[in-house]
Each structure stands twice: as C-alpha cells, then as structure tokens.
Subunit: 218 residues, 2 copies
DNA sequence: TAATGTACGTTGCATTTGCAACATAGGAGA
DNA sequence: TCTCCTATGTTGCAAATGCAACGTACATTA
C-alpha cells in the first residue's frame, strides 16, 4: 500500500488514517495477473483505479481494430478518474495489467458524496480530486495552445514563449531532450532540429543544448 | 442573475436557494465597463468568474507582446475555474469585458471548503465543479488524440473513427461544417477538402455533406 | 585506448500542406 | 426567375514536413 503515499488522491492523508478511510470508501483491493483486464471497454465508468504495485496499459481500439497504447500507469498513478467524475456512461478504453499487479478500485460515488459518518478525509480527498483534474486541465490546455499551431516554427515559438513568460526571462532552460520536445509538439525530431537551426539563422533566438535565449525583435 | 440558470456550476440548485447560497460563498457581483479588466495577468488566481451579462475576452500575451484571444465568454460561462482549482499562483491570462458586463466573482476557497453552516448546496456545487473539470478534461484529451496525428489524413481517420466507435456504426453524421472541422483539427479547410476527396478515391470512406460512411478494409 | 551507444545536427527527396484564387452548388430573398 | 451569399470543392505553386540516411560530438565501458 506504500504506493498511496505517492498518489495525489491521498495527498495530505496520513497512512495512519487509511484504516479508517478505506472501508469508508468501500475501496476494493484486487490482484490481477499479467494480461488480465482491469477495465474493459464499454463497461460503465464507475471506478477510479489506483495502481498499488505492478503496472498497466491503458489501451484503445479504433474503428478498424487498431490498438493504441494511450498511457502506461505505474504504482501511485490513477486511471479512469476523469471519466468517472464526468459521469461517462461507458468507458472508451480498456486497462490491462502488463505484469502481476495490485489495484485499488474506488467507487467514484463514494468519493463525491460525503459519507454518513461525515469523515473529515472525504473533504480532503475531494479537494485532491479537484486539484488533480484542474491541474491536468491546465497542462492539456497549454499543450493544446502549442500544438494547434500549424507550422513547426510557430509551435516552437509558442512553447518557448510560454517558457519565457513563465520564467520571466528571455534566457530559459528547458526540461526536454530534442526527441522529447519533438514528441511533445507532435513533429519529427529532424524537422525540429532543422527549424531550430533556421530560427537561429533568422536571428529569432540562440541556443546551446537545452538553454535557449529568445531575442526581442529589432 | 438569470444567467446562473444556465451555468453548470449552479446546476441542480434552484433560483430560490440562491439567496442563501450566494452570501455563504461570499460571492461578489461587480459591473464592468467596456474594455475594463476583470482579471489582469499575473494576479493571484483566487476567483472563479461567472458572466451574468455582457461578455468578455480571455486574452494572453506572448513573450513578444502579441495578443491572442483564447476564448470569448458569454452569460452563463465560467472563466478561471481550472486555474483557481489547480492552485496556480499567478494568472497566465487577462480577462477584459468586451461590452458593459456584470460578473459574479466567487472565491474558490469558499467553494472547496464546506462552510461553517454546513450548507447542503456546497456539496452540490463541488460535485458540479468536479463534473465541469472532468468533462473538459475528457474533451481536451479526445481532441488531443486527433490533432497529435501528423497528417491531415490521420487526423481525419482518428476523428471519424472516434465518432464511429461512439455511434457504434460505420455510418455517421458529424456536427461540424467543413470549416469548423478544419479548425477543430487545426488544418486548412482546403487541405481538408482535398484530403477527404483523396480518401474517397482511395476507397477508405464515402461521404455526402455531413454524412460519412467508413469502409472496412478489404 | 578502442569500441560502443546515444543525442543531436544535416541533408536529399518525395509528399503534404498552406495559401490564394477560382469554380460550383444550393438556399434565401427580392 | 434572378441575384446574392455562403459553403464546399478544385487547383497551381511555393514552402514545410516526414522520412531515411548519415555525420559528429560526447560519454560510458570493456
């Protein structure tokens, strides 16, 4: 159960308090074998899953049956939280254990409704869930702003500008490798390198490794 | 105040109950003139705004001072909810009234914490906020799956496949005009038309107007 | 030191895309 | 019916991009 310490849903709740909390949530701990399904597509989205040990793939099949791995979750990670909170009727994806795993399943309705014993942990857990969803929201929105640009140059400028504004400096260090930045911006790594070189030539910016210096227009 | 009827944050709460609720939230109703700032960039993100009348632009300036309009909000719309729930310290955007407007400002901390009088509306309002954030989350994630594809064809296939899976049919009607679909997928309208024609020629699908028929591979 | 692996930049080439301009079809209204 | 307007399809062309292949620099390890 140590994974709960790192789970943002349980932030601010001490391990000593879990004993009281978990029954109150009617949380079920279940073990899954490798390749066993934890959630299956089209099931009702009733549960929030927390990985206690092992790992799982969140997978989705398109209309033609092509499988895509959306994310891989590891101990401490949540899955299914947005869908159950949104009240989606049926899950649009499946979750499959990639190794022997322990999963904590929590009925979302037990989280969102204050329990009869009015336990104080509910309030904290709800605040945590709000924070988790809002945070993901902000990150998704930021990323969307960048990748909705049509050219690699504009995506880069959007990304770097946001970093500069956040750091309040024209001199910024980014946390991505080139490959990671290319993946984040949904472009080819080589196209990214090529465009960065072109931008340097055009006098828009300077860089060495992960340090970028944006130039003001002159 | 009629706009609150359409505001998802107040869903399930009757107008007759507002009188008790609003003071409890310490909600402030303020009027703004055209072009007056409601939120200013770098302010602490403490309030959720609800447009009661009028309208406002959510605007952002990049590192070079270029302004971008992120959204336009109208009566019943919320703004600032994700940032205040996420506990962001400073707002990354400004909000400016585009006409004379009435705005309801609610301190987020009053929403997230159960009030001393333990009023029952808080529970509903928190559930509403969870729903709003989760819903936006799901929509953003779906859109991200489509536009993270590198080619127009792949974006279209991703979008149409998702529609088909959701409708559980290979014969689907979409809610977008061509221009709207192009904007949603972040491509040119003409490139979209061109690619749709190419896909029809290639036998991937058929369409007339907004009705699309996906073909299974043969 | 030599060998190996990894990250990053560079380049040629075919394809895709943006962009602009124009064509066509259908609907609304005079 | 005729005209205007909007939505959509079409096309030429320049520019951007994906893709693959290769070169270089640097670090790690045998």
């Amino acid at each position: 159960m140590d994974a709960l310490k790192e789970c943002p849903l349980f932030a601010g709740i001490e391990p000593s308090q879990w004993k009281a909390l978990l029954p109150c949530l009617n949380a079920q701990r279940r073990s899954y074998a490798k390749d066993e399904y934890i959630f299956r597509v089209d099931e009702p989205a009733l549960f929030v899953g927390v990985v206690l040990s092992g790992g799982a793939h969140v997978i989705q099949e398109d209309f033609w049956g092509n499988r895509a791995i959306l994310t891989h979750v590891v101990p401490g990670d949540l899955f299914g939280e947005a869908l159950s909170c949104a009240g989606t009727d049926r899950l649009p994806f499946s979750v499959v254990a990639t190794e022997a795993s322990d999963i904590l399943l929590i009925d979302y309705r037990r989280i969102s409704r204050v329990c009869s014993s009015a336990c104080v942990f509910h309030a904290r857990m709800i605040a945590n869930m709000l924070h988790i969803l809002a945070d993901k929201n902000v990150r998704l929105t930021q990323k969307m702003e960048h990748i909705s640009k049509r050219t690699t140059r504009d995506k880069l400028l959007s990304f770097l500008s946001a970093q500069a504004v956040q750091a309040d400096s024209h001199d910024i260090a980014i946390q991505f490798s080139r490959q990671e930045l290319a993946d984040y911006l949904c472009v080819e790594r080589s196209a990214l390198s090529r465009e960065l070189g072109a931008m340097k030539r055009d006098g828009l910016l300077d860089y060495t490794k992960n340090r970028f210096i944006l130039k003001t227009l002159s």
